[in-house]
């Protein structure tokens, strides 16, 4: 016997949870599916049949822009840190996206932790949806993930004709699930899809050997340095910080940035340590495949395929990994 929740019960459970929690879930409008905050009266807007959202759920913890703190001028300057008032449920995550969050955790929660990120992270429960019809560009199984991987989730739901199979993996998840209206049913679990495989194993060892290869200049020829790959990626986390100064008030604002933007490494005086198009372009792949792994134990890619899908000029990480494997010098 397996515990399942029917679609109707799931929605009314979410409606009920929305009274207490902020619910962030996939919603489709204007032809794009994005994670949005939905109130209890908007639960029906949640798209349960989406394939993959255009932007990743990292936006919830690491938003495009956020005020880190405000300094106001009273008698003495006072620093008011931003804070999150409500606990949240991030609903409808794909397992790869949960892994994306886990990868950002490694960098942002390592000591000293990024407190702004940590606060939102601590106050959020992750409910995932297993991927039963992955997109053609997905390759999670090649980089250690899987369509029903529950490692980085609090709860995983898997759709069947009888309802959603519920699995809780953490205390937080178990606690939340106790309130869910579930039934015991005889269920045949769905067959998980198999994905196209690429050979990613050993890539980290190969990267240093091809650093100076003309390959990077050639692929960079067509890159337009648009930031799209980094902004849609569930585990890219570069940012910029500036102060917004107005009368009696200073706001410190953090916004997304990316190694692909034109002035990313341009220093005062104009010197740029990544002066060529190829060097500029190469950074993305070296950060993901060489610099991150020895520190944090994983390559910085979940196999979600978003950059593959959204890159205007078809720079395809699967092709890059495969090409480097072939170069084997």
């Amino acid at each position: 016997m397996t515990k399942v929740i029917t679609k109707e019960d799931l929605l009314s459970w979410l409606r009920q949870l929305a009274e207490k929690y902020a619910i962030i879930a996939p919603v489709t409008s204007n032809g794009v599916t994005l994670y949005k905050s939905v109130g209890s009266s908007e639960i029906d807007k949640i798209n349960l049949n989406f394939s993959k959202t255009e932007l990743s759920p990292k936006n919830w913890f690491f938003p495009p822009s956020e005020t880190l703190f405000t300094i106001v001028k009273d008698e003495l300057p006072r620093i008011i840190p931003a804070s999150v008032d409500r606990e949240a449920i991030l609903f409808g995550l794909r397992p790869c996206d949960a892994k994306g969050i886990a990868l950002i955790d490694k960098a942002f929660l390592a000591e000293p932790a990024d407190v702004f990120y940590q606060e939102k992270r601590d106050k959020t429960t992750l409910i995932g949806l297993a991927c039963l019809s992955p997109c053609l560009e997905c390759f999670c199984t090649s980089v250690g993930g899987g369509p029903a991987d529950l490692t980085h989730l609090d709860i995983l739901l898997t759709e069947t004709a009888e309802g959603y199979i519920t699995q809780a993996t953490t205390e937080k998840g178990k606690q939340l699930l106790t309130g869910a209206p579930r039934q015991e049913k005889e269920i045949i679990p769905p067959v998980l899809p198999s994905l196209n495989l690429i050979l990613a194993e050993g890539i980290t060892e190969l990267m240093p050997r091809v650093f100076n290869d003309a390959y990077w200049d050639r692929v960079a020829d067509r890159c337009i340095h648009c930031n799209i790959c980094a902004y849609v990626c569930p585990c890219c986390y570069c940012f910029d910080i500036r102060d917004y100064v107005s009368k009696g008030k200073i706001e410190r604002v953090r916004s997304w940035e990316s190694c692909q933007s034109p002035g990313f490494t341009r220093l005062a005086g104009g010197y740029d340590p990544r002066p060529t198009k190829g060097a500029h372009f190469r950074q993305r792949w070296y950060h993901k495949l060489l610099y991150f792994p020895p520190i944090f134990g994983d390559i910085k890619c979940t196999g979600c395929g978003r950059c593959v899908r959204s890159c205007p000029v078809n720079i395809d990480i699967r092709e890059i990994i495969t090409d480097v494997q072939r170069m084997k010098v």
Partner: protein, 283 residues
């Protein structure tokens, strides 16, 4: 068609007329296409041309302005080349343009070809390249027509409706600046969006700043946008940028009787001053 392009590219590279030909090759979905830079005559068989060749390759010429370069260009893309020549960003003698007659392409995304045409083709009446050294296909002589029904629709909205319409779209902009990076007309060494002193727009990715970005970007392209539709095509959150661009195109046409990129020589309205120029859109 494709044989003609490949043979010409091969000849150009073999005779060292150019040292690179920019064209299209199949993308990794085996369905659509992507830009390719061909440096060796032996590689010309990678070149393709079909209804998925959406990219405006003229942007790439800016990086190669001092190097002899061949380029495969659709009519809208050739308007981009004219724009850059007119603005003295390229040298004509360094270019070899393989123009391709085009009656419209398809709306594409990675691994997806739709049955419809992109906005740019729906309203395009320029089917023959406006500048070329070698033409592929039969030139079409058709008097260009102008249809701005989509723009009239927006103009007929009340200011409040229009504001709501654009808020809905601009609010979700993530300021990736993809619309700028892909644009042939955006080649400033330092874009106003990146400039710190003076600070035109803050880094905050939020409605106020997004409005500034999206409107000023469009204004910088008024009487310059050549309607290749690339910004709208690549926008990761599907913002209908061509509606802003085409509004400016319509106004420029009516006020100055000018269409960007059609000709290399005509001085564009914002590069000159004439006493008889009309002022404002209200006249």
């Amino acid at each position: 068609m494709i044989e003609e392009i490949r043979n010409k590219a091969k000849e150009l590279l073999e005779t060292k007329t150019v040292d690179c030909v920019i064209g299209y090759e199949p993308a990794t979905d085996n369905l659509t296409s992507r830009p390719v830079f061909i440096y060796e005559p032996s590689q010309v068989n990678r070149l393709i041309f079909d209804e998925t060749c959406v990219h405006n390759l003229s942007k790439y010429l800016i990086n190669r302005r001092y190097k002899p370069t061949g380029i495969v260009a659709k009519p809208c893309d050739t308007r981009g080349i004219n724009l850059l020549l007119n603005e003295k960003q390229l040298r004509r003698e360094n270019l070899f343009i393989i123009g391709v007659v085009c009656s419209g392409i398809r709306k594409v995304r990675f691994n997806q070809i739709e049955n419809s045409m992109p906005t740019k083709c729906q309203y395009c009446s320029q089917h023959t390249p406006v500048i070329y050294d070698f033409l592929v296909g039969e030139p079409v002589t058709e008097a260009p027509t102008h249809n701005y029904s989509d723009i009239t629709e927006i103009e007929n909205m009340s200011p409040a409706q229009r504001k709501a319409f654009w808020s809905e779209h601009f609010d979700r902009c993530i300021r990736c600046y993809g619309c700028r990076q892909v644009c042939a007309g955006c080649y400033c060494y330092e874009c106003f969006g990146d400039e710190l002193d003076p600070l035109w727009v803050g880094i905050r990715i939020a409605p106020g700043e997004n409005w500034v970005w999206n409107t000023v970007r469009a204004f910088h392209l008024s009487a310059r946008c050549i309607a290749c539709g690339e910004c709208e095509h690549i926008c990761p959150v599907n913002i209908p940028l061509m509606l802003v661009n085409r509004k400016l195109e319509k106004d420029t046409l009516h006020l100055f009787d000018f269409e960007p990129g059609i000709d290399t020589e005509i001085v564009p309205p914002f590069a000159t001053y004439k006493k008889e120029d009309k002022l404002g859109t209200g006249e």
